[in-house]
């Protein structure tokens, strides 16, 4: 991931190689199959620390889900803003987002309370 040249906190205008005027400068695509998830300028860059299950879980006997901390997201207010995306069933008031074509994920999450979606920058490609 980029070493965030001038990335700032929420609300403050952010610019780097991916973010311009606070939104995604480029198209957001699946890392694995290239499926288009978001059009340019349709997600708002936010910083927040969240635990997100790993995309590739180690196949051990214990069913413990392995997480990692993710702190850069695109915030999408309306789910129909997405071009192509999958929503999983609800787990603890969240749905996970996945690629609509190859099912890779989670690439982010959807909050059932606010009905807002968050896409992790580290889990997608910019194009």
């Amino acid at each position: 991931m980029s070493d965030s040249e001038s990335v700032e906190k929420n609300g403050i205008e952010v610019s780097n190689e991916y973010v311009e005027n606070g939104t995604n400068k480029l198209i957001v695509k699946c890392k694995f199959c290239g499926s288009k998830m978001l059009d340019k300028k349709s997600g708002t860059f936010v910083k927040q620390e969240k635990d997100l299950p790993l995309m590739q879980q180690e196949t051990g006997k214990d069913a413990e889900v392995q997480n990692e901390k993710v702190n850069e997201f695109y915030h999408v207010e309306n789910m129909y803003t997405f071009e192509n995306i999958g929503f999983t069933h609800t787990v603890d008031n969240y749905k996970y987002l996945s690629c609509a074509d190859c099912d890779a994920g989670p690439v982010g999450y959807y909050d059932m309370n606010t009905k807002h979606s968050f896409v992790a920058l580290s889990r997608i490609n910019h194009a």
């Binding site: 694995f32 199959c33 499926s35 059009d39 349709s42 299950p53 790993l54 995309m55 590739q56 879980q57 196949t59 889900v65 207010e77 309306n78 789910m79 129909y80 803003t81 997405f82 071009e83 192509n84 995306i85 999958g86 929503f87 999983t88 069933h89 609800t90 787990v91 749905k95 996970y96 996945s98 690629c99 609509a100 074509d101 190859c102 099912d103 890779a104 994920g105 989670p106």
Partner: protein, 211 residues
């Protein structure tokens, strides 16, 4: 934020367990991803964007849970659905026979004007076939529903099926809106050029988005 699409259609996939409903929503590829985490939880629905005759159409496609039976699928399940894909497996006679039960269930529980389409899936498995294409076509004629054989595995006719169902829903909505809003001052509103439409989005939106 302003809407960036013209229409939103809610679609539902139903049919017996194992016919390939979840697979139809997945694009099989050579380097299939290790999807263990996502597939364990299961997909509730997907959003796909298609271009339908110059209109940007969002499809929200709901998969139904594996063990659901037509006996347990009731009105709440169908609420808001504008199109239903009825899926059977061409290598499974029983799943074909059950299409009639699914249709009855739709008639009893879904809105009367929901668009339907029958898919005979797994048509790549010719050696194991139990249901001929002709029988699928006959059933479709009997119920006056469109029909196509698909292979989720080979991505055969899957896209075609979604476009066809979406196009039928759009046509039905336009017809209804024409009826309730007969040609006059507003006629031809949906024939505006793309750039004109962007300036006056409401004319089309009010016709097409049923949210």
């Amino acid at each position: 934020m302003a809407k960036t699409y013209d229409c939103l259609f809610k679609l539902l996939l139903i049919g017996d367990s194992g016919v390939g409903k979840t697979s139809i929503l997945f694009r099989f590829s050579e380097d299939a991803f290790n999807i263990s985490f996502i597939s364990t939880i299961g997909i509730d629905f997907k959003i796909r964007t298609i271009d339908l005759d110059g209109k940007k159409v969002k499809l929200q496609i709901w998969d139904t849970a594996g063990q659901e039976r037509f006996r347990t699928i009731t009105t709440a399940y169908y609420r808001g659905s504008m199109g239903i894909m009825l899926v059977y497996d061409v290598t499974n006679e029983k799943s074909f026979e059950n299409i009639k039960n699914w249709i009855r269930n739709i008639e009893e529980n879904a809105s009367a004007d929901v668009e339907k389409m029958i898919l005979g899936n797994k048509c790549d498995l010719d050696a194991k076939r139990q249901v001929s294409k002709e029988r699928g076509e006959q059933l479709a004629v009997e119920y006056q529903i469109k029909f196509v054989e698909t292979s989720a595995k080979d991505s055969l006719n899957v896209e075609y099926a979604f476009y066809t169902l979406a196009r039928d829903i759009k046509a039905k909505m336009e017809k209804k809106q024409e009826a309730s809003n007969p040609p006059g001052g507003r006629s031809g509103a949906h024939q505006l050029k793309a750039n004109e439409q962007q300036r006056k989005p409401t004319s089309w939106l009010s016709r097409c988005s049923v949210l």
